[in-house]
């Protein structure tokens, strides 16, 4: 190895860190706009905000290639963005516009994008576990070196199909990583009321490699994800990554009064002490990898981008009614 490589490696590493910061901020701002669209009654239906959990999508997706696959959930905007989707086409989809990723047919819970390996968000809890496992199956059979990541909330641990596909993935040694985002609540019920035993053991019981990380620390998420992705790509089979996290907002944008299922104090603690963006920003500054002005500029730039993206979406036309019967069959 030449000595010249070292500065390059270091600068690549800094690039990665700043990119992760930028992506986390992008997700948070995107979601802020979504909430705004809802309260301004511009968005049909509801949406589930990812605010507070940004480090997971970003840390994991930065360990993936563009051609690698992800599957996502009802709380999926973060995964889509982290995998490379454009905010304007996402907003358009959220508003049911023709320009959206799915021509308006999918909406918030069904954004899919072959160009970024996004197999689709899914409104059935655990509904994409089979799909992600199948994508890993294809990758292995076709020998294209890809891996698949299946994101899901801890509520999906209640769905039996998860255990069925983990068993299959291990038997077939498939390159799939099951990423469990434990944000402590399903809709309005604490996970301890619905989850007996030990989460990680539920994966190791099927022979999977399993790890648990602080989901608010993007560096830890990323390093661990990288290890599991490398492992999968090498042919060492599936794994399970448990990320402990918290959603700042309600289950969906309309879930405003939450005190009957969780305390304001708990929310406050997570927001003030464990915020993935604030803490990571502080660390970047401490390590002298960025200064406060640079980070502030990221914020400002993204604010502008997001506003433009929203404007695009709001102005975009709806699909024509005749399109309703298109795309049923290929």
């Amino acid at each position: 190895m030449t000595t010249a490589a070292e500065p390059k490696e270091a600068s690549e590493k800094i690039d990665l860190l700043l990119r992760m910061y930028r992506q986390m901020v992008a997700i948070r701002q995107f979601e802020g706009q979504v909430n705004e669209l809802y309260t301004r009654a511009l968005m049909p239906g509801l949406a589930h905000l990812y605010i507070g959990e940004e480090a997971i999508a970003v840390g994991v997706c930065e360990a993936l290639d563009r051609t690698d696959y992800v599957t996502s959930t009802h709380r999926g905007h973060g995964h889509c963005l982290a995998k490379g989707a454009s905010p304007d086409l996402m907003f358009a989809e959220l508003l049911g516009k023709k320009a959206g990723y799915c021509k308006g047919k999918g909406g918030s819970m069904h954004i899919a994008d072959p160009a970024t390996g996004n197999l689709g968000a899914n409104a059935i809890v655990c509904g994409s576990a089979g799909i992600a496992t199948g994508a890993a199956f294809s990758a292995k059979r076709l020998g294209n070196g890809r891996v698949a990541v299946c994101f899901f909330g801890e509520g999906a641990l209640g769905q039996g199909v998860l255990y069925e596909v983990m068993n299959l993935a291990q038997l077939f040694k498939l390159p799939v990583i099951y990423v469990c985002e434990n944000n402590l609540y399903t809709e309005y019920t604490h996970f301890s009321e619905t989850t007996a035993g030990d989460i990680l053991t539920r994966a190791t019981a099927f022979g999977l490699d399993a790890a648990s990380v602080d989901g608010q620390d993007v560096r830890v998420v990323h390093e661990t994800a990288k290890r599991l992705v490398d492992r999968a790509r090498r042919g060492d089979g599936p794994s399970f990554l448990l990320c402990n996290t918290y959603r700042y907002h309600g289950h969906h944008v309309g879930d405003i009064n939450r005190e009957y299922y969780r305390s304001k104090q708990e929310e406050q603690e997570w927001k003030t002490q464990r915020d993935p963006i604030a803490n990571f920003g502080k660390w970047l500054i401490e390590q002298k990898l960025a200064d406060a002005a640079t980070l502030a500029q990221v914020q400002t730039e993204l604010e502008g981008e997001m506003k433009k993206a929203v404007e695009f979406a709001v102005a975009a036309p709806y699909p024509g009614v005749s399109e309703v019967e298109e795309d049923v069959y290929a």
Binding site: P44, G45, L46, G96, K97, K98, C102, K103, G104, K105, G106, G107, S108, M109, H110, N122, A123, I124, V125, C126, G127, G155, A156, L157, G158, Q159, G160, T186, E187, Y188, T189, E193, T194, T195, Y260, Y261, Y318, P319, V321, E323, V324, E325, V328
Partner: protein, 338 residues
């Protein structure tokens, strides 16, 4: 108050409740009457379901009778089957009707067959409450009306209430029934208000109800489509067409006679149901009428269900997928040659 009250209209002066309140009242009354009645499902306890249909039941009946479950539709439905066989009367809550996909084995291969396979020895007195209905901007996986599947299965009973009055009376009858009953509630109707008598009454399973009498055309409608049919009937009246609106109320047992008699009388029929039109409820009801009123029909029975597409998210598209007052009015007008 009589034990059974099949009439449409509650006595004058009856207080009004929403559809959701009527359901809650039926549950509360049955739970007071029978300590083996219990409720289980996702977010049913503190949250009282996302639709707030069950609010207050936890407070009255406690955690042992109003049970929050994991997101395990197959698992807790199966548990309810076993509980029903052994002395309980569980009422299972499946939040969105789209998730009955996950309960088919427990309901169809187990609940529906236990009584028959055991030669009549075991019984499964359970109720599954779930939802149906589109136009809530919830997209393809949260908008389906899949009740036709369960109607197809011997051993199950299937109920689709269309008014608060019916909702209360039918749910009480369902809970007291000795068989597995699936009870579909249209999400868009939870806020619908109507008269609901206080106290005990049931609406028997298997008795259709004429929601509006008429002479020229029969609109057979289920669930929220009853409101659509009633709206269309008003429009039709304006052009001199008198529409009769018939609500089967329970898809199984099915009150064929009331449907057929109405079609015989009017000689024209439209079937309205929010399930997918093909291979669904509209086919069965149309076929029953086409056969039963064969010699009286002046025109083919017209079917109006959901379009044969997954429900789209985009509002203008979604709105096109289901029958509306206007499309029903047009269809009826055409059928009557007006």
């Amino acid at each position: 108050m009589p034990d059974t009250m099949p009439e449409t209209i509650a006595p004058a002066g009856t207080r009004e409740l929403t559809f959701a309140q009527a359901i809650r009242e039926a549950l509360a009354e049955e739970m007071r009457l029978d300590s083996t009645v219990c409720i289980m499902g996702e977010d049913v306890a503190e949250a009282g379901t996302p639709f707030k249909v069950l609010s207050g039941l936890l407070e009255e009946f406690g955690k042992d009778r109003v049970l929050d479950t994991p997101i395990s539709e197959a698992g807790f439905t199966g548990l309810a089957v076993g509980a029903a066989m052994t002395g309980m009367r569980p009422v299972v809550d499946i939040m969105f009707g789209d998730f009955i996909t996950l309960t088919m084995d427990q309901m169809v291969n187990q609940a529906a067959k236990v009584h028959y396979m055991s030669g009549g020895k075991w019984r499964v007195p359970m109720v599954m409450r779930t939802t149906m209905g589109a136009t809530r901007r919830s997209a393809a996986q949260h908008s389906q009306s899949l009740h036709a599947w369960y109607c197809h299965v011997p051993g199950l009973k299937v109920v689709l209430p269309s008014t608060p009055y019916d909702a209360k009376g039918l749910l009480k009858a369902a809970i007291r029934d000795e068989n597995p009953v699936v009870f579909f509630e249209d999400k868009m109707m939870y806020k619908l208000k109507g008269p609901v008598p206080e106290g005990d009454y049931t609406v028997p399973l298997g008795v259709a109800d004429i929601k509006r009498a008429g002479e020229d055309i029969t609109l057979v409608a289920t669930s929220s489509m009853v409101q659509v049919a009633l709206g269309a009937a008003v429009l039709l009246e304006e052009i001199g067409v008198s529409a009769e609106v018939v609500d089967p109320r329970t898809m199984w047992p099915l009150d064929e006679k009331t449907l057929v008699d109405s079609a015989k009388k009017t000689s024209r029929a439209i079937i309205l149901d929010e399930g997918y039109e093909r291979y669904g409820v509209t086919a069965e009801l149309a076929s029953v009428i086409a056969t039963g009123a064969f010699y009286d029909l002046d025109a083919p029975v017209k079917r109006m269900g959901a379009m044969h597409v997954p429900i789209p998210f985009s509002p203008p598209l979604e709105d096109a997928t289901v029958p509306t007052e206007q499309t029903v009015f047009e269809a009826a007008r055409k059928l009557c040659g007006k």
